[in-house]
């Protein structure tokens, strides 16, 4: 029985906890959330051991067989993503618990947080098209609620925009799913993929599904909502949104491409998606360079870095998949660390603008250090997980003979360095009027350490990548051998 049968518990436990948290006062709900996340962190090694023993895990719910029943599926990338979710959400909730702004004190905050966790687990584990839809809805609504928790007008406006655009994305996804179901008689990813034959309607359905996912994953040019939402949300929420929620949508892009793509013209879609990814890298980095608020810089950096995750679709080799997986993990850790550190810095200075953050290295040195370390991984400077990811992607691009990808990867790093060092220069600049008291609030130790721990994780990934990558071979698809 063990791990495979208990796979659904990864969703059911946060679900129950969310229900309970809705009845508890805010502080107790927060502690419940932390307990659930620590339990997830503690259970992950067991799951990893089961995966190492038996390979990809599959379970059909209610004891029935597909296409009637829903299947859950865990492959290498899913396993690593679950580990990332557990780590980042734990650190972010420690940050939120330690820094009680208005947001975390609202009674609805922690239940929404637990729903977000349940939604993440749902999407990572799902192997059924409609189940993916429900998971995406959970993520969207929970994320909207959490963005709105900041309470400012900007946050509410950003949340509204996010909601409307995400609903549009969901609609597109659902339309595509409905067509696939009508044409193949199944909602199961594997069975539908096997039953698909190339045809015009398949391309339309897949295009709709991918369009919906790209909207939810904020891929250029459908990224407009992300900088507003992630910039206005509270620090811990931005961390989780940038590091995890958009990744869930990208995971589905990969799944669709791998399982449904071969029949539906993946050969054309792959390079197109990679081109969009490249455009995202360039546009996002250039926009990040021109921002004058710290959190906006980090948010646009997310738009840029998400582009890297699509490049593999133009060069699907084992090495490129390894690089992409490593980038997924390294960026998740580094971006979450950056947002947490940015929240600390803004809190300390009392002003979100870059110009007002001068002298932060004296006022909040640990947060600046965490920010810098996370930046090192983001830019892909050694030694960090981001560097190894860039190395593997470069190897993959070189082997595939895709020179434009090589140039893109190198240019992307240079642009990232540009906005990182511009930000660091603003943080290290001398503060005028050093004697004046600062307008901000003190930053709790735990909040700083949470950011630092995640940043160190991104760096340590640069040394511990080999065993982690052993777990993630090429994601299995029909006819796609690792």
């Amino acid at each position: 029985m063990a791990a495979t049968e208990l796979l659904p518990l990864w969703v059911l436990v946060p679900l129950l906890a969310a229900a309970l948290a809705a009845c508890l006062p805010a502080r107790r709900a927060g502690q419940l959330a932390l307990a659930v996340q620590l339990a997830a962190l503690a259970s992950w090694p067991l799951l990893a051991a089961a995966f190492a023993d038996r390979g990809p895990l599959t379970v059909s719910l209610a004891g029935l067989a597909p296409p009637l029943a829903i299947r859950l599926y865990l492959d290498g990338i899913g396993l690593l993503l679950l580990g990332l979710v557990a780590t980042v959400t734990t650190a972010a909730s420690l940050h939120a618990l330690a820094t009680p702004g208005r947001a975390a004190l609202r009674p609805a905050f922690w239940p929404a947080w637990l729903v977000l966790l349940a939604g993440l687990h749902t999407v990572v584990l799902s192997f059924d098209l409609f189940n993916m839809y429900v998971g995406l809805e959970l993520l969207t609504l929970a994320a909207v609620a959490l963005v709105a928790s900041a309470g400012t007008v900007a946050a509410l406006a950003a949340a509204m925009r996010y909601l409307l655009l995400a609903m549009l994305g969901s609609l597109a996804w659902l339309a595509g799913v409905a067509m696939i179901h009508a044409g193949t008689g199944s909602l199961d990813l594997e069975l539908a993929g096997a039953a698909l034959a190339p045809g015009g309607w398949v391309s339309v359905a897949l295009a709709l599904m991918l369009a919906g996912l790209l909207l939810k994953a904020a891929v250029f040019p459908l990224h407009g909502w992300l900088p507003l939402a992630h910039g206005a949300a509270p620090g811990a929420v931005s961390a989780v949104l940038s590091a995890l929620v958009v990744k869930a949508a990208l995971l589905l892009v990969w799944r669709v491409q791998l399982w449904l793509g071969p029949a539906g013209g993946a050969d054309a879609a792959g390079p197109l998606l990679a081109a969009l990814g490249g455009a995202a890298i360039l546009w996002g980095s250039l926009s990040a360079y021109r921002q004058d608020r710290l959190k906006q810089v980090v948010a646009f950096s997310t738009v840029a870095q998400l582009g890297y995750l699509l490049l593999v679709l133009a060069m699907p080799s084992a090495v490129a998949w390894q690089g992409t997986t490593l980038h997924l993990l390294a960026h998740g850790l580094a971006k979450a660390a950056m947002f947490l550190a940015a929240a600390n810095l803004v809190r300390r200075a009392g002003d979100p603008r870059l110009a007002a953050l001068a002298g932060s290295d004296a006022a909040a040195p640990v947060s600046v250090f965490a920010f810098a370390l996370a930046g090192v991984s983001l830019v892909g400077l050694p030694p960090s997980g981001g560097f190894l990811a860039k190395w593997l992607l470069l190897q993959g691009a070189w082997q595939a003979g895709a020179w434009w990808l090589v140039a893109l990867l190198l240019a992307g790093s240079l642009l990232a360095a540009a906005y990182l060092f511009r930000t660091l220069a603003a943080l290290l600049a001398h503060r005028d009027g050093a004697g004046q008291a600062r307008a901000g609030l003190p930053v709790p130790r735990i909040a700083e350490l949470a950011a630092l721990a995640l940043a160190l994780g991104a760096i340590v990934l640069g040394f511990a990548a080999a065993p982690i990558l052993d777990l993630a071979a090429l994601p299995a698809g029909p006819g796609g051998a690792p």
Binding site: L381, L394, L410, A425, H430
Partner: protein, 497 residues
């Protein structure tokens, strides 16, 4: 025989630990920080002395850590490593003492010394790197560690200088990475092996060999300030004097030059470089840099800028030595690594002293300082003469070997370049010396200060020490203990000649 493998790692970790300790100690605990810095520097020196004895007796050390299948971090200690390591260790100690005096009243000293130690850790990593990948890792780390030092003052000019530095180095490192990826895609990881193996492994693919060489050279050439990638060096003079001293003598430029040496001798092999026809190009590029740097130095009115252009010119001697076939030129180039380091750091120490004590930053403000600061000016004079190449100073020794090596390889035009460079050096150093000693001092100095006695001594003694070392390196060049003696050992051992 192989010694304890962790010794190379220890070299790097020592400075890394110091950096961490300095950051954690905080701004306030000055005495703790000074003790930490000096203790670490002395420990490093002791470690290096231990290694010198072991390697002279024929031991080798290697430490390996796999990062990915086919990609290893390798640290090793061979005789070439120790050339760079000894220079770094000795100069680190002296620069630390100097910096303690120089920054006596500046803010942000914890940050400064922390990144200082990190810089040395990166330099140690570069010196002990056992393959191109490890070299690249520490090369990038050096960029990261030196940028906060360059922008330490926190002013607009500092950040502009830092921006230029970053633009150049990161662009260069992109090219380096491209070359490295190419190499790995073709042959996988390549350890540094004396005599170079790349020619054998990649035989037949000359285009790839040339392409990879050019890319890697571009990457290293940025830090080594080869034309046309030298633009950042004069702009980086906005940094405080200890930083300029470190950058020019020990860390950044030497790392670039060291990389070129490793590339030519331990990756490709000197014969292969000549066979590919790359030796001519490199020699031409180096010669052009030598002349251009000297010409630009003539036009500078600011002392530190003039010294910066002088560095651009002088460091290319090392590349020139690598580009010319034959052991003599190799000896000349390698030994100039040490000699130029000793001389240039002295010059920067003195420039810092002039700026700090008298406020004299420009050359026309140096009239008659010989009377007011005699010891400083003596050190300056001795090393300036060495830079010109007056025998029996260290600079002369390097130029002699380079010249004879060029003639032995049939590249007599190099001698012309050397002569021209010597004349130009004289042209931009002698007037300065003339002003220092033979002009009457002005009525009022631009910005005179009176630092404490300890601070003053802390700044003066290192300058005198390095000046003396430069003098002795030249005078006692025949001894085995001198830098020249060690270089001869390297060349004999590694390159059979």
């Amino acid at each position: 025989m192989t010694g304890w493998p962790a010794l190379p790692l220890l070299l790097v970790l020592l400075s890394l630990a110091t950096a961490l300790a300095v950051f954690l100690a905080g701004e306030a605990r000055q005495r703790l920080r000074t003790t930490l810095n000096l203790a670490a520097a002395l420990a490093k020196l002791g470690l290096v002395a231990l290694l010198l004895r072991a390697v002279a007796a024929g031991e080798t050390f290697q430490w390996r850590m796999p990062l990915l299948p086919g990609l290893d971090l390798v640290l090793k200690v061979d005789s070439l490593t120790l050339l760079f390591t000894t220079l770094s260790a000795v100069l680190w100690l002296l620069t630390t003492i100097y910096a303690i005096g120089y920054l006596e009243r500046s803010p942000g000293r914890a940050r400064f010394f922390g990144f200082f130690s990190l810089c040395v850790a990166a330099t140690m990593g570069i010196a002990t790197a056992g393959n191109l990948f490890t070299f690249f890792v520490f090369y990038e780390l050096l960029t990261l560690a030196t940028w906060p030092l360059v922008v330490h003052r926190g002013t607009q000019a500092s950040f502009a200088g830092g921006r230029s530095y970053l633009c150049h180095t990161l662009f260069g490192s992109s090219l380096f990475l491209a070359g490295l990826v190419w190499l790995h895609a073709l042959v996988g990881s390549q350890d540094f092996i004396a005599g170079g193996e790349l020619g054998d492994v990649l035989s037949g693919n000359e285009a790839a060999q040339r392409g990879i060489f050019v890319l890697l050279l571009a990457g290293m050439g940025v830090k080594a300030a080869l034309l046309p990638l030298h633009g950042w060096l004069p702009k980086a003079m906005v940094a405080p004097a200890p930083v300029s001293a470190l950058l020019h003598a020990v860390a950044v430029v030497k790392a670039g030059a060291f990389g070129i040496v490793r590339l030519v001798y331990d990756v490709y092999g000197s014969e292969r470089v000549q066979a590919l026809g790359l030796g001519h190009w490199l020699a031409a590029l180096a010669a052009a840099t030598i002349l251009y740097g000297s010409l630009m130095a003539l036009r500078q009115a600011d002392l530190k800028k003039r010294l910066a252009w002088s560095t651009v010119s002088q460091v290319s001697y090392i590349a020139l030595g690598a580009a010319i076939a034959g052991p003599l030129a190799t000896i000349g180039g390698l030994v100039h690594l040490v000699h130029q380091g000793l001389m240039k750091i002295t010059l920067f120490f003195c420039a810092g002293l002039y700026a700090e004590l008298l406020g004299s930053k420009r050359i026309d403000q140096l009239d008659g300082v010989g009377r007011v600061m005699p010891w400083t000016s003596l050190a300056f004079t001795v090393t300036a003469l060495g830079m010109i190449g007056v025998p029996p100073m260290a600079g002369f020794v390097s130029k002699w070997y380079l010249g004879t090596g060029a003639v032995a390889a049939g590249q007599s035009w190099v001698v012309g370049v050397l002569v021209a460079s010597t004349l130009l050096n004289a042209a931009y150093f002698l007037p300065v010396l003339g002003r220092i000693w033979f002009r009457p001092p002005p009525d009022a100095w631009p910005a005179p200060t009176r630092p404490g006695r300890w601070a003053r001594a802390a700044m003066l003694l290192p300058a005198l020490a390095t000046a003396l070392a430069a003098l002795l390196a030249g005078l006692l060049a025949g001894l085995e203990l001198s830098p020249l003696g060690w270089v001869k050992l390297i060349v004999a051992r590694e390159y059979g000649g």
